[in-house]
């Protein structure tokens, strides 16, 4: 009677596709916002070319929402989409701690960080050999997903809040920890591109390696194969 176990929990799949839409809207509306003032600064303040550490290029219309320059409309989209993005991330964190997806499939062990093990993993990756015994994801995937869940996406929320003048009065330490409002704005921009970088590599890897299989998995849940179970489970140990 028991149904075959799914590879991806419903929570993971719901988060994944909600997040995709949010990221695309936030990134593209963010690039429109960036066109509003194309310089980045460190510290609390900055407004003139001599204060800037980066002159940002103007992003063309096909990269932005809306597809012409409109700071107010881009901000509308950004301000709205920040909600589903941040709430979905929060719910995903709760879900994957509760259903132990995080502990089971994403946390790494000290053994995996040994240089020889890392090197073997990189070589396997370059051979497009992703069939890895002893876990749903191999080491590099775990590190990448861990970074995305643990650093890149939360940093988008934290830096986004730190640059909001209505947040600072009750969360001032956040802006301070991030080095001041203009530093937080620079970090917001940098992490947005880090997320974009992950996105490109991530989608490229899905495309080169059994795209339909993986996509189906991420939509329907797929089937949990023997090799997807953590090594410890296979040996019957408790983790």
């Amino acid at each position: 009677m028991t149904k075959p176990a799914k590879k991806h929990a419903l929570a993971t799949r719901l988060w994944h596709w909600t997040n995709l839409i949010c990221i695309v809207v936030l990134f593209m509306s963010g690039l429109n916002i960036s066109n509003g003032h194309r310089r980045l600064y460190w510290g609390d303040w900055g407004f003139a070319p001599e204060h800037a550490w980066l002159e940002v290029p103007r992003f063309p219309g096909w990269m932005t929402i809306p597809d012409y320059y409109s700071l107010s409309q881009a901000r509308d989209w950004h301000i709205l989409t920040a909600w589903p993005f941040a709430l979905a991330l929060l719910l995903m964190w709760i879900a994957m701690l509760v259903n132990r997806h995080f502990q089971r499939d994403i946390t790494t062990t000290r053994r995996e960080w040994k240089p020889a093990a890392v090197w073997a993993d990189i070589k396997a990756h370059l051979r497009f050999d992703f069939e890895h015994a002893g876990g749903k994801y191999n080491f590099l995937q775990k590190v990448a997903y861990g970074l995305v869940f643990g650093v890149f996406l939360p940093m988008m929320v934290f830096t986004g809040m730190a640059i909001s003048p209505g947040v600072e009065p009750w969360l001032g330490w956040l802006t301070e920890v991030l080095g001041g409002r203009q530093s937080a704005r620079s970090l917001h921009f940098i992490f947005a591109w880090a997320v974009f970088g992950f996105f490109v590599i991530h989608v490229a890897l899905v495309i080169v390696h059994k795209p339909l299989h993986h996509l189906r998995g991420m939509i329907t849940g797929g089937r949990l194969e023997e090799s997807d179970k953590p090594a410890a489970d296979i040996k019957g140990e408790t983790t």
Binding site: D44, F47, W62, P66, D76, L80, P165, G166, V167, P169
Partner: protein
């Protein structure tokens, strides 16, 4: 090349889709409501009294950028400036029991607050300056705001691209301790580019809320019928968010 065109096509399709959704009634409603969700959270957690950060004298920017109107040429502003704003008056009215006309001398005679704060423009830049002026709450208490009033509207002398500048805030920000009518920047009379002779400081919101060249302070029950009804020049003209705390 083909793949790139394909990607651009997907991107363009997505953007067009967004724009379609944004044009539907529910889409518009959502986009307009979202700033209020942020405001509800900010109000709940920051409340009436949470202060925007204040800085030390060593943090003040070497100069203070002016934006929007930087030298109004409409009306009698230039003549007023010539006379060093000796005849400038700020009309305090609307839903108040005790309407007043404040001269710059009246303004300077009130208890003053000096604060070094950071000014954040909606475009993205920030500058730090030291502002001095009476708290708006002092003026509103003196004018005796009536019970039904829900917003304070600021009237301005500058006409930008054919429309008079104005702004508005709710009572939470109007009575906030850091909301002052500033007439000094860094210890000097306010420069023209920064709003001489008097401008608002609404420290928990973006720069366009900080009305410059203030000529009127008006208590109202509703923003309908003022300008195009959205509560401010940039709100009416280009759809900027009335709540500018995000």
């Amino acid at each position: 090349m083909k793949r790139r065109n394909f990607l651009i096509a997907i991107g363009a399709g997505f953007v067009a889709g967004c724009q379609k959704i944004g044009d539907t009634a529910p889409g518009k409603t959502l986009l307009e409501a979202a700033p209020n969700w942020h405001k509800a959270v900010h109000d709940a957690l920051g409340g009436r009294t949470a202060l925007a950060p204040e800085f030390g004298p060593e943090d003040v920017s070497p100069y203070f950028r002016g934006n929007g109107s930087t030298n109004p040429t409409n009306g009698d502003y230039q003549a007023q400036a010539e006379a060093e704003f000796a005849n400038w008056e700020i009309a305090v009215g609307g839903m108040v029991d005790n309407p007043m006309r404040l001269t710059m001398a009246n303004l300077r005679a009130l208890p003053q607050r000096t604060q070094i704060t950071r000014h954040d423009c909606v475009e993205g830049w920030s500058a730090i300056g030291e502002w001095t002026g009476p708290q708006l709450s002092t003026i509103l208490d003196e004018a005796k705001v009536q019970d039904g009033a829900r917003f304070i509207v600021f009237r301005c002398a500058d006409n930008l691209n054919g429309d008079d500048y104005y702004e508005s805030v709710d009572m939470l920000d109007a009575y906030h301790p850091q909301t002052i009518v500033a007439h000094k920047l860094n210890g000097e009379d306010l420069p023209i580019k920064n709003g001489a002779p008097a401008r608002m400081r609404i420290e928990r919101q973006l720069g366009y809320k900080h009305a410059k060249y203030v000529t009127g302070i008006e208590a109202v029950a509703s923003l309908d019928g003022i300008g195009e009804g959205k509560g401010g020049y940039w709100e009416d003209r280009a759809g900027y968010q009335w709540y500018a705390g995000v």
